[in-house]
C-alpha cells in the first residue's frame, strides 16, 4: 500500500486551476521527487497534503485512510519560504513547534536535545534566533521538521541557500531517514540532486501531471539510443557511412542507433572494422533533459 495516494485532485483559484485532476501515489520508504517549473502547482499540492489547503475535488489517502488533521502529526514539512520567530530562543522555539506537532513537553525536550547533539550544536540551545546566520537557522528549521519523527517528510527546496557543508549534512540526513523507512517528498528545481537522491519522480506543469515514474525507468523510457564509443587510432573507412553520427571528435564518436538494434550490434560493427574500442557507453538522458523536453512539449 502506498503511503500517500492523491486521486483526481482539483484545486481552483478563481478561474485559475492550480491542480487539474492530478493523481499519483507515493510508495512507502521512497524518496519521491515532486518536480515542475515555477508556478506549476507544486506548492499547492504540498499545501493540500499538509492540510494547509483543501482540494476542491478529489481524495487524498494517507496509509489508506482519508487524510485528516490527525495525520498532520505524522508529516514534517519544511517549506521553501521558511522562517522562525526572531525573539525566541532556539530551544524553546523547537520545543514549541514539536508540541504543536503533538509531542509532550518532555518528549519535545528530549528530541531537541538529541538533534542538537547530533548536529553538534548543543550550545545553541539558549541562543536567540535573531543571532543565527542564515545557514544556522536552516539547520534549526530542518530539526523542527524532523523533531516529531514523522513518517512523511516534505522538503520544499531544502538546499536553497545552504552552503556546501550544510548541504552535504542535510543530504546525509535525508538518506539516513530514508534508510529508517521514512518517506520523503522532495521538491526542487535542481535536477542533478533529483538524480542523485530520488527513487521516483512526478513532473507537474500548469497544474497537470505530465510524467511519473522511477528515475532509472524514466531514463530508459526517454533514451534516444545514443552511444558514445572511444577508440584508439584512426576511424576505418566506410564504418560511419551507414550510421547516424551525432558528434565526432578525434578518438570519440557519438552515434544515434536504430531502435531495433541493440548496443551489442553497434559494438560488433566497430570490432568487425578492426577498431580498438577503449570504452563503449549508452548515453541516457539526464532528468534535466527529460524535464526540459517534457515541459517544452507540454
Amino acid at each position: 500500500m502506498p503511503l500517500l495516494s492523491l486521486q483526481h485532485i482539483i484545486k481552483q483559484y478563481g478561474t485559475y486551476r492550480a491542480s487539474d485532476d492530478v493523481s499519483f501515489e507515493i510508495p512507502k520508504g521512497k524518496i519521491f521527487g515532486l518536480l515542475g517549473p515555477n508556478g506549476a502547482g507544486k506548492t499547492t499540492l504540498i499545501r493540500m497534503i499538509t492540510r494547509i489547503l483543501y482540494p476542491d475535488a478529489g481524495n487524498i489517502l494517507f496509509n489508506g485512510e482519508q487524510l485528516t488533521d490527525k495525520h498532520t502529526e505524522n508529516i514534517g514539512y519544511m517549506p521553501e519560504e521558511r522562517g522562525l520567530y526572531k525573539k525566541m530562543k532556539v530551544g524553546e522555539h523547537l520545543i514549541y513547534l514539536g508540541r504543536l506537532k503533538g509531542l509532550s513537553q518532555t518528549q519535545a525536550k528530549e528530541n531537541v536535545n538529541y538533534w542538537l547533539k547530533r548536529f553538534e550544536i548543543e550550545n545553541w540551545l539558549n541562543k536567540n534566533i535573531e543571532e543565527l546566520s542564515k545557514g544556522m537557522s536552516q539547520k534549526v528549521q530542518f530539526i523542527a521538521t524532523v523533531l516529531h519523527n514523522p513518517e512523511l517528510l516534505i522538503l520544499d527546496e531544502p538546499f536553497s541557500g545552504l552552503d556546501p557543508i550544510n548541504s552535504k549534512l542535510i543530504e546525509e540526513e535525508i538518506r539516513a531517514m530514508s534508510k529508517q523507512g521514512k518517506t520523503i517528498i522532495f521538491s526542487t528545481h535542481r535536477m542533478e540532486q533529483v538524480e542523485e537522491i530520488c527513487d521516483e519522480i512526478v513532473l507537474v506543469n500548469k497544474g497537470k501531471k505530465i510524467l511519473e515514474g522511477g528515475v532509472k525507468e524514466l531514463k530508459q523510457r526517454f533514451k534516444e539510443n545514443k552511444f558514445r564509443i572511444s577508440f584508439t587510432g584512426e576511424i576505418s573507412n566506410g564504418l560511419l557511412n551507414n550510421l547516424n553520427v551525432v558528434e565526432q571528435t578525434s578518438g570519440e564518436v557519438t552515434v544515434k542507433f536504430d531502435e531495433e538494434h541493440k548496443g551489442n550490434s553497434l559494438l560488433k560493427l566497430f570490432v568487425e572494422h578492426g577498431m580498438e574500442v577503449s570504452s563503449f557507453n549508452e548515453l541516457l538522458p539526464s532528468i534535466n533533459e527529460i524535464f526540459i523536453r517534457q515541459v517544452q512539449s507540454n
Binding site: K87, R99, L100
Partner: protein, 442 residues
C-alpha cells in the same frame, strides 16, 4: 483546544518576558503620576500673574470692591492716573520685566450701568491675557456692575448676599438610597473612565495582535505553523494570548496606579486641594471642591457588583470581537505593513463608540445610548460607560448575547480573511478582495 492552549502560552510568555512589556507596564503609572503632578505644577506656576490697572473715569466703581482671583493669577488695582498717562508709562514690549501693570481697564466718564455696552468698558493689554483670564476679568466686571445696580435699587449688602445665594437641587433617586445627591456625576466619571479604558485597550492590544500576525507572515513561519495547526486555532491562540497579556497589564496598572495615587496624595495632597480650579473646566461646569467631595463619596455607592462582573465581560468581549478583525487586517496587509487604509473599517466604529459614550454620560437614558449599548460593534465601550447608571438587566443580557453573536460572526469572517491572507505574498490586497474571500470556499 490543546493546541490553542500551547499557542496561548507562547503568545503570553514571549510577550510578558519582553523588555518593552516590563517598561510600558512600569512606565504607564509613572506617566500617570507625571500627568497629575505635571498638571498641578503647571497650573500653579505657568499661568503667571496679571496685574490689571482700573482707570475709572466715571467714578462709579469707587466703592465697589473688585476681588482678585483666588488662584493668584489676576490682581486688580484701582488707580487715580489718567488713562493716557498710565498707558505712556507702560513698556511697549511685553517681555520687559519692569512693568507695573500688564493691562489697563478703562471705564469712560459717561459709562452708564443701564447701557453697559454703550459706551463700552475697554481693556488694553501689553501682555495678552489668556482665554481663562479674559473670562475671569469679564466676570468680575459684570459682578461689579451687578453690585452697582443693586445699590441704585437701594438693596443693601445683606440683602445682596441673600440674593446671590444659589440653591443646589438635591437630585436623588426616588428611594433616596440607591442614588444620592452627586450620584450622576460620580457615575459619569466612572463611566467615562471605563469607556475610555476599553477604547484605548482595543486600539493598543488590537494593534499588538495585528503586529503579531504580520510578524508571522513576514518571517514566513506561518506556513510551518499552519501545517501543524488550523489557521483558526492559530488565530484564537493569538487573540487569547494577547488578551491575557492585556488583562495582566491592566491589573498591574490598576494596582500600580493605586499605589502611585496614594504616594501622590501624600506628597501633593495639599497642592491638589488648594488647586481644584486647575483641574480642567470644573469651574465652568459649576462644580466646586465641595461638589468634588460629594462625587468622591458617591463613587462608593456605584453598583460595584454589576461593574465587577460585567466590565471584564465587555473588556473581553470587545477584545475578542475586534481582536479577530485586527488579526484579519494584519494577515491581509503587505509585508512592509503598508495599506493602513485596510484598518479604516475597524477604527471607525471604535471611534464612533467613544463619541456615543461621551454623549451617554450626559444622557444615560437616551435612545442613542440604548442602541449604542446593544449593537456589538459599539457596545463594549458604550455599555461600559453606561454600567454605573444601572442599565436594566435585560438590556445587559441582550447586549452580551449580541456581543457574543457578534464575536462569533467577526471571528468567522476574520478567520476566512486570515486564512487566505497569511499565505498570500507579494500582492496588494484590497477591501474588495477581502470581501471575496469571506464568501469563498476554503
Amino acid at each position: 483546544m490543546g493546541k490553542i492552549w500551547i499557542i496561548i502560552q507562547r503568545e503570553y510568555i514571549t510577550r510578558v518576558k519582553r523588555k518593552s512589556f516590563i517598561i510600558t507596564t512600569l512606565l504607564a503609572p509613572l506617566g500617570f503620576f507625571a500627568l497629575i503632578t505635571g498638571s498641578v505644577l503647571i497650573s500653579t506656576y505657568s499661568q503667571g500673574r496679571t496685574d490689571v490697572a482700573i482707570v475709572d473715569e466715571s467714578g462709579l466703581f469707587k466703592d465697589v470692591p473688585i476681588a482678585d482671583a483666588d488662584d493668584q493669577t489676576v490682581y486688580f488695582h484701582k488707580v487715580e492716573n489718567k488713562y493716557e498717562q498710565l498707558a505712556a508709562e507702560l513698556p511697549k514690549e511685553k517681555n520687559e520685566k519692569e512693568k507695573k501693570y500688564s493691562a489697563i481697564i478703562f471705564i469712560p466718564a459717561n459709562f452708564n450701568i443701564n447701557t453697559p455696552n454703550n459706551p463700552v468698558i475697554a481693556c488694553r493689554y501689553v501682555e495678552r491675557p489668556g482665554m481663562i483670564k479674559k473670562q475671569f476679568i469679564n466676570q468680575r466686571m459684570n459682578e461689579a456692575i451687578d453690585k452697582l445696580r443693586m445699590k441704585t435699587l437701594n438693596i443693601n449688602d445683606e440683602v445682596q448676599e441673600q440674593m446671590q445665594k444659589k440653591t443646589q437641587i438635591d437630585f436623588s433617586s426616588l428611594d433616596n438610597q440607591s442614588e444620592k445627591k452627586g450620584y450622576t456625576e460620580a457615575a459619569g466619571i466612572a463611566g467615562m473612565v471605563m469607556g475610555f479604558a476599553i477604547y484605548i485597550s482595543l486600539f493598543f492590544y488590537g494593534t499588538m495582535i495585528m503586529k503579531g500576525v504580520q510578524e508571522e507572515k513576514t518571517s514566513r513561519i506561518v506556513e510551518v505553523l499552519t501545517s501543524s495547526v488550523k489557521p483558526f486555532q492559530l488565530l484564537m491562540g493569538k487573540i487569547m494570548g494577547v488578551g491575557a497579556v492585556g488583562l495582566t497589564q491592566f491589573i498591574l496598572w490598576i494596582v500600580l496606579m493605586f499605589g502611585v495615587n496614594i504616594v501622590a496624595g501624600i506628597i501633593f495632597g495639599v497642592a491638589l486641594n488648594s488647586h481644584q480650579p486647575a483641574m480642567g473646566n470644573m469651574q465652568s461646569t459649576g462644580m466646586d471642591a465641595e461638589d468634588m467631595q460629594l462625587v468622591m463619596k458617591n463613587l462608593s455607592s456605584l453598583p460595584f457588583t454589576q461593574i465587577i462582573i460585567f466590565f471584564p465581560l465587555y473588556f473581553i468581549g470587545g477584545f475578542l470581537l475586534y481582536g479577530s478583525l485586527f488579526a484579519a487586517v494584519g494577515a491581509a496587509m503587505g509585508e512592509d505593513g503598508d495599506q493602513q487604509s485596510l484598518m479604516v473599517p475597524i477604527t471607525v466604529p471604535i471611534i464612533i463608540s467613544i463619541f456615543i459614550a461621551i454623549n451617554v454620560i450626559n444622557n444615560p437614558d437616551s435612545a442613542l445610548g440604548f442602541w449604542g449599548s446593544i449593537i456589538p460593534l459599539t457596545s463594549p465601550v458604550v455599555m461600559s460607560a453606561l454600567l454605573p447608571f444601572r442599565p436594566e438587566w435585560w438590556q445587559i443580557a441582550l447586549s452580551l448575547f449580541l456581543l457574543m453573536g457578534g464575536f462569533i460572526f467577526t471571528t468567522y469572517i476574520a478567520a476566512k480573511i486570515y486564512r487566505m491572507g497569511i499565505l498570500m505574498y507579494g500582492k496588494k490586497i484590497t477591501l474588495k478582495e477581502m470581501a471575496r474571500w469571506i464568501f469563498a470556499r476554503n
